[in-house]
């Protein structure tokens, strides 16, 4: 009630005046948001329900959920999803472990700490496509950096990018190289804000370093870990350009991530309706994971 009175008084012209102000101030933002976010989402949903070919003289035909059903029946869709999930399950935990260990290491003050900290962040600022290209050349057995290491060791160089398993591993390594600094800096920031008293009192009570880490640091760090992993997860679901320039999804389908499969269907096979349906499925997966992760974070915060 109080709110309502304040509200009327402040506007000086009643609810209608307040609404008018809201429209004036929020309107442009809402229109902009609708144009760049809501409309494309609605439009792509609309396209996903059609048999829609990009280069065609035949008008799109409404086919309901057929594209979604076809995707569920498509072995290449499941293969792409499997690759994506495997990638996430391997890459993100490794990035987390490396990031966490280095963040802990940098809690100790040493000469050059600041400069090293800055330098370690460099890979994170490399463009994904550039990173993919760089790794492609590095792995080239004849004149790449890694190929030359084999030569130095008097070994026959391995052609990483022609072997499905090694190619997949190379993509993971490339991703870890590029994004572990993100984990590092997020966790380093969280660690730096910890009250030192907790750690010190645990040590006075006789806790060893492992116990301090497991019982004090890790529980306090959990919200930061969840947030970092969550952000990386969303990023990993959208992985595209680095893999595309590095392997183009090959050899065979070994690195055809869902995003690459969607791209191929849209711009190589021109089946934009089908590509959109798979895009939506990827979005739903991302939303479900986000929902789960966020609810977990809020729960942790509340508790």
């Amino acid at each position: 009630m109080q709110n309502k009175l304040d509200f009327t008084d402040r506007s000086g012209g009643g609810i209608s005046r307040h609404l008018f102000d809201n429209v004036i101030f929020l309107g442009p933002t809402l229109i902009f948001l609708f144009a760049i976010l809501i409309y494309p989402l609605i439009y792509s949903l609309y396209v996903s329900f059609h048999d829609w070919k990009l280069v065609s003289t035949v008008p799109p035909k409404l086919i309901g959920f057929t594209n979604y059903i076809n995707a569920l029946k498509d072995p290449l869709f499941w293969n792409a999803l499997r690759i994506q999930v495997t990638f996430i399950l391997i890459a993100i935990p490794l990035e987390l472990i490396i990031g966490l260990l280095v963040a802990l290491l940098f809690q100790v003050e040493f000469f050059g700490n600041r400069i090293m900290r800055t330098l370690l962040l460099i890979p994170f600022f490399v463009l994904p496509s550039l990173s993919g290209l760089m790794w492609r050349f590095m792995l080239q057995p004849r004149y790449g950096l890694i190929g030359n290491i084999y030569y130095l060791l008097n070994m026959e160089p391995v052609d990483w990018l022609s072997n499905p398993r090694l190619t997949f591993l190379a993509v993971i390594l490339q991703d870890i190289w590029r994004t572990w600094p993100f984990m590092f800096i997020t966790l380093y920031a969280a660690l730096s804000n910890f009250p030192k008293e907790l750690k010190e009192s645990a040590e006075i009570d006789g806790a060893n370093k492992i116990q301090v880490f497991l019982k004090i640091i890790l529980p306090l760090l959990t919200p930061a870990i969840v947030v970092a992993c969550f952000l990386r997860l969303i990023d990993a679901l959208r992985i595209f350009s680095e893999v595309y320039v590095m392997t183009e999804g090959g050899p065979g389908h070994a690195t055809t991530f869902l995003s690459i499969y969607i791209y191929k269907n849209a711009f190589r096979f021109f089946n934009i309706g089908y590509a959109n349906s798979m895009g939506y499925m990827l979005t739903i997966i991302a939303l479900l994971i986000s929902f789960y992760a966020l609810s977990k974070i809020y729960k942790e915060e509340l508790s």
């Binding site: 990009l54 280069v55 022609s162 050899p251």
Partner: protein, 432 residues
Amino acid sequence: MKRFLRIFVILLLFLSISLAQKLPYSTTINVLVWDDAHTKAVATLIPEFEKTTGIKVNFIALPTRSVLEKAAIGISLEKTDYDLVAVDEPFVPQFGDLLFSYNLWPEGKVFRKVSLNEIAEGAVKAAYWGGVARGLPINGNIYVFIYRKDLVEDPKNKEEFKKKYGYELKAPENFTQLRDFVEFFTNPPKMYGFGPFTVKAEGVTCEAIFMFSSFGTDVLKVSGDKVSLVLNKDKAVKAMDYYKELLKYAPPGKLSFGHSERIQAFNTGQIAIMFQWPALIPNHIDPKQSLVADKIGYILPPAGPERRAPVTGCWILGIPKAAKNKQAAAEFAYWWASKENAKKLVDAGMNPVRKEVLADPEIQAKRPWFAINLEAFKYGVSRPRFKAYARISEIIQVYWTKGISGEMTSKEAIDAMYNEILRVLREEGYAK
């Protein structure tokens, strides 16, 4: 003084108006093309074209795949972002219905309409879909083999080769000779016989089609709207086995060889022979880029057991039906393909498509592969030409690489390729 200035300005205005009136056009066209030495050459001369015609050209040169994407998004029956668009040969069937038939293109006001009789036959074939030419062929790309002439002419090599194989060392004419040739010149870790194309891209489809056709089998037979799978599995397995044999004599990294790797390996003198698209040959003859610039010979692709099968990779210039500046777009295409312009463009790096330019002795002296290029069109083989080509190409790439890498046996790979193509043909409504 003021009076003099006023008269001068008026005169200047009058002069520029009268000059502008003399130009036949006053318009702007958007042209979407692929990006390589050829189109870079064209771009250098565009100011001349603009000056002559009054047509301002927005020349948008993009990597091949991006051209396809932009064209797919930007062209429909109702509207188009481009007045003239380059279409790669295997995609002509897909874009064909959106393009204005070449026989309906208007006559040029400045440059003469190019007759398709003036163009190399194989390239003209690339422009046709459904019995109608959908545009003007502009880039005469077809498989040409480049080899190390200096090594072949070396008397020591000649002697050793004859001792080992019982016949004279020369540029290979058939697959048996090609196999001996690549084996003879392989001397790891510095020298290898063969430069394959194996990185997952259109080039892999071309290699597969080259091998299949050389061994006497096509993948698909397209007649009108009917498409049937005609891949002879036995011949295809033999073709794949032969390619695997050649791969034994390729450099490390041979299973991830794309354009850049091949150019680099050949230019640093590590490869004795390989196919090359004529449009990319300028990369090999530039002494700034190549250690073997003056040591290269050019031949037709060696003949397989059944036939000689150079694969074509031409581009056509098409005018979208929805284009508003058809006349100006046609004028630009005629200028690009004109005989008068050809010499200048060839000097700047263009790969021509006109027979008389390819056959011109003066030009051939500077570009010795043009004679082979023209000859190769007599045997030209194209990739499957129908609307679902991209899906078929993807399957060929996947199973060809699985087969040649040993991930699958040749038979398993060809069987899988066959079954997958059949599945796609069924999905697309071409087969039951």
